[in-house]
């Protein structure tokens, strides 16, 4: 073993096991976290695609499962129908892949698939996470291509919600079109306005001046009404609900500058502000575009990943076994579930006892054993032996679907944060118009001929440009920074709620821990080298396809024969002609059970392995950082009390609750909210999904369940938990900057207003003040671009 140069896997950036395998890339041995990543890296190197490692922007590729999986079912006609389109050259399918984070991934997928024989066309889009794949069915079936994808760590799924995706793309294109028109129109309008500005000595003849003004009007009109339409529509919507907010502010200032200029053009007044109106539309549209795209990109990738594998089940009929799509199952059907397969529907266990991994539903990491007649739930994993069950509930009636509905309900009941900026905007707009009317009335009494002009100056000078830029500029920068940190923000309110959180609830399995077994200790009983025993154990585990096989992260040098799994006991098999047993002490060497894994020949033990789900390396540090930020940490887990207590002690959390069902967790969140706490929930599994949706703000882990992603406000794209406190710190900084911006913009307006009301403000001064205050606000917002406490 070489001394690990990096602490993480070279391919996927995950934590390394005790004895990492290595692959030589660019002349140096690189550590790999698992055989899957190793194989992928080796393939990439041998295919001459090593550029991938130089092109990618962050160090995290997708973790590669050791076994790429079986995609043979994708070749079936009944699965392909509805997804595959026939083209003159061949067939075409669009799949959604996991783990495509950046443009380099898309590059790698393009190159890797084009090498496969029979592939006609590949289009990988890193923005949407979709791969369009054209292939010639006469030369290759679909499954080997998908296996290649999966072997690189990009597990394909059937693309769902194509209509929603098309709509999203149309909307994005409409936004780009608006932005382009705004940019082209605004530059032209500013050019024409420039001619007017340069006429400082007022030598331009009135007809020429008016000609320029009308041309500017002509060019600005599409910018205001086509490009600015989202703001105007938003204002109409807000006014209809009698809740004027940000859009009202933006649209009213744009329309104000536009119509005031039109009025001045018509009456031949001193000044027009068309250029201000269009520039303003352009800036705000760009800020909104950047912010929305960062969020949309995140959600486009996540919500299509609904684990849409073509699901098949083995139905037992009088005629024998037949493979049918899961949707075709009916109540009272008898279904066979293979070892390691997922239970397709809720039902009742038949025949013999068997053990099931229900961690997807309960979060409990230990498998539970079920007796004949016990209830089984769809989504749980059958361990060790083949089981048969009679279907009792299918599809939307299953426990899994009930949890999904709980998510939707919890989301609907989530408390909304009162938005600071909206509250300010509402009062400001009202106050502004009241002030203008009052000024107009006052001047009407004194000097009626100047009344209109002064009222207009009041409106223009206090035109809330800076105020309406204050929030979007800060949000756009903060979202960009979050994405660079590896945190995807999905909800619009995510940042604001994150800043206000004062309690953090942590899930255990998969969140604080890695969520998969790791070999933490291995030693030979005779005190000698443990490596040969490790090889034997690896061969046995991999032969059995045991879930803890992943813990033995070594490329198997030997292979085992006649491997048999004994449920709840261990594995037996032959390696190099010798019979071995690996499992509980009683099974491997007839000793007393001590919770460890023993390798023996049935009577004598030769090696002892400790396999455990280990705590993430930076969990304790992250918890400490969260506490330093004033968040009270607390663990809620579905797992047993002992396991939870051990992890709580390891990461330094005093408060924890074990054996929590999803409903219990949600109730705990509700009671904390009732006490006035703002709760941040951090979780990863389907069992966490309702809580993620019900908490004030929630974060899901990158490798968590898609349902958890969909119900979370933020998703961590990497494995590091340190990004949580970093994101909280950034959220708080962005709130602070928004407050500063609002304060500055309000102060500017409050100072300018009296001068304008007295009739002292010249048009040039008004334009200067407007531009300067907007610049200050934008510059302040750009400070959010820095990542604090980031060591990369």
């Amino acid at each position: 073993m070489n001394a690990a140069v990096d602490a993480t896997c070279f391919h996927c950036g995950d934590a390394l096991p005790a004895h990492p395998p290595t692959v030589a890339i660019d002349g140096a041995p690189r550590p790999m976290c698992c055989p899957g990543c190793g194989a992928a890296a080796q393939w990439i190197r041998d295919a001459g695609l090593g550029d991938y490692y130089r092109l990618r922007s962050d160090a995290d590729g997708a973790r590669v499962a050791a076994d790429a999986g079986d995609f043979l079912s994708w070749d079936r006609a009944d699965i392909q129908s509805g997804h595959v389109v026939s083209t003159p050259q061949g067939n075409e399918i669009t799949v959604v892949v996991e783990g495509m984070h950046c443009a380099a991934c898309a590059w790698l997928i393009d190159r890797a698939l084009l090498r496969e024989p029979g592939v006609l066309d590949v289009g990988a889009n890193a923005v949407t996470g979709r791969v369009r794949l054209g292939w010639d069915p006469a030369r290759t079936p679909l499954s080997p291509l998908l296996v290649r994808l999966a072997a690189l760590g990009y597990r394909p799924h059937l693309a769902q919600g194509e209509a929603a995706e098309r709509e999203r793309r149309r909307e994005r294109n409409r936004m780009i079109a608006r932005l382009g028109v705004a940019a082209l129109g605004a530059t032209q309008a500013m050019m024409f306005a420039e001619a007017l500005y340069l006429d400082t000595a007022r030598e331009m003849s009135v007809p020429t001046r008016d000609f320029f003004r009308w041309i500017t009007f002509l060019v600005s009109t599409p910018v205001v009404f086509f490009s600015g339409w989202p703001f105007i529509a938003g204002m109409v919507n807000e006014l209809r609900h009698r809740r004027p907010a940000m859009d009202t502010l933006v649209a009213s200032s744009v329309l104000l500058a536009y119509f005031a200029s039109l009025v001045e053009t018509l009456r031949g007044g001193l000044h027009v502000w068309f250029d201000a109106a269009v520039m303003f539309v352009l800036f705000l549209l760009a800020a909104r575009f950047l912010e929305q795209m960062a969020r949309r990109q995140a959600s486009a990738r996540l919500d299509t990943l609904a684990r849409a594998q073509p699901a098949l089940a083995w139905r037992i009929t009088a005629a024998g076994r037949e493979q049918v799509p899961v949707v075709a199952l009916a109540v009272a059907d008898v279904v066979e579930v293979g070892a390691g397969a997922v239970v397709p529907a809720d039902g009742e266990l038949l025949d013999a006892p068997a053990s099931f991994d229900e961690s997807l539903l309960t979060g409990e990491s230990e498998p539970v054993s079920r007796q004949p007649g016990d209830a089984l739930y769809a989504g749980s994993l059958c361990r060790e032996s083949v089981a048969r069950l009679r279907v009792q509930r299918t599809g939307s009636d299953t426990r899994l679907s009930q949890l999904t509905r709980a998510v939707e309900k919890a989301q609907a009941q989530r408390p909304r944060v009162a938005r600071l900026a909206d509250a300010v905007a509402t009062r400001f707009v009202t106050a502004l118009f009241v002030a203008a009317v009052l000024v107009f009335i006052a001047w009407w009494q004194v000097q009626p001929e100047r009344a209109f002009e002064v009222a207009l100056a009041v409106l223009v000078v206090s035109c809330p440009c800076a105020l309406s830029l204050a929030v979007p500029a800060a949000l756009a920068t903060a979202h960009g920074t979050l994405a660079r940190m590896g945190v995807l923000a999905l909800g619009a309110d995510a940042l604001e709620s994150l800043a206000k959180a004062d309690t953090v609830l942590l899930d255990k399995t998969g969140t604080l821990t890695l969520g998969r077994p790791q070999l933490v200790d291995a030693h030979a009983i005779d005190g000698g080298d443990v490596t040969p025993w490790l090889d034997v154990a690896t061969a046995l585990e991999q032969g059995a396809g045991h879930p803890i096989a992943a813990a033995f992260a070594r490329t198997g040098l030997r292979s085992a024969e006649r491997v048999r799994a004994f449920p709840g006991e261990g594995v037996a098999g032959e390696v190099d002609g010798r019979a071995w047993r690996l499992g509980r002490a009683g099974f491997a060497m007839q000793g007393p059970d001590d919770g460890a894994l023993w390798l023996g020949d049935g009577t004598r033990g030769v090696a002892r392995f400790t396999v455990a789900d280990t705590v993430r390396p930076d969990a304790a540090q992250a918890v400490a950082a969260l506490r330093a930020l004033g968040l009270a940490p607390r663990i809620l887990s579905g797992d047993g009390a002992d396991a939870v207590a051990a992890v709580a002690a390891a990461v330094g959390v005093a408060q924890f609750q074990a054996r929590q069902t999803p409903e219990d967790k949600l109730a705990a969140v509700r009671s904390m909210q009732a006490q006035g706490h703002r709760v941040l929930m951090l979780g990863d599994g389907i069992n966490d999904a309702p809580v993620l949706a019900g908490a004030d703000v929630s974060m899901a882990m990158a490798d968590g369940a898609p349902l958890a992603h969909r119900s979370a406000d933020l998703v961590l794209t990497g494995a590091s938990l340190m990004r949580v406190p970093q994101a909280v710190a950034l959220a708080r900084r962005s709130q602070r900057i928004i407050r500063q911006n609002l304060g500055w913009a309000l102060a500017y307006n409050l100072v300018a207003l009296p001068f304008a009301a007295m009739g002292w403000v010249t048009p040039g001064l008004a334009a200067l003040g407007m531009a300067a205050s907007s610049l200050v606000v934008t510059g302040n917002a750009l400070r959010l671009g820095r990542i604090e406490g980031h060591t990369a």
Binding site: G48, L49, D51, L55, Q89, C102, A103, A104, A106, W107, D110, R111, L114, R115, V119, L120, D121, G123, A124, N125, A126, V127, R169, N173, I176, A177, G180, V181, L184, G185, Q188, M191, T208, F211, I215, L218, V219
Partner: protein, 58 residues
């Protein structure tokens, strides 16, 4: 200043042309993915180009 009477319509026509060209490009999906295409030119293709069919006729 009469030249303005010719130049301004010309600039407006050019503006219109630019906007139409831009809208056409948006509609054709030129802006769908702005990150991947720049990487395509960075590496050499060792494998001979795939069959000389057009990539994505529409």
């Amino acid at each position: 200043m009469n030249i303005l009477l010719a130049l301004i319509p010309v600039s407006l026509a050019l503006l219109l042309l630019a906007i139409l060209a831009f809208l056409w490009a948006v509609k054709r999906g030129q802006f769908d993915d702005l990150d991947t295409p720049p990487l395509d030119i960075l590496g050499d293709d060792e494998r001979p180009a795939p069959a000389p069919e057009k990539r994505d006729p529409d």
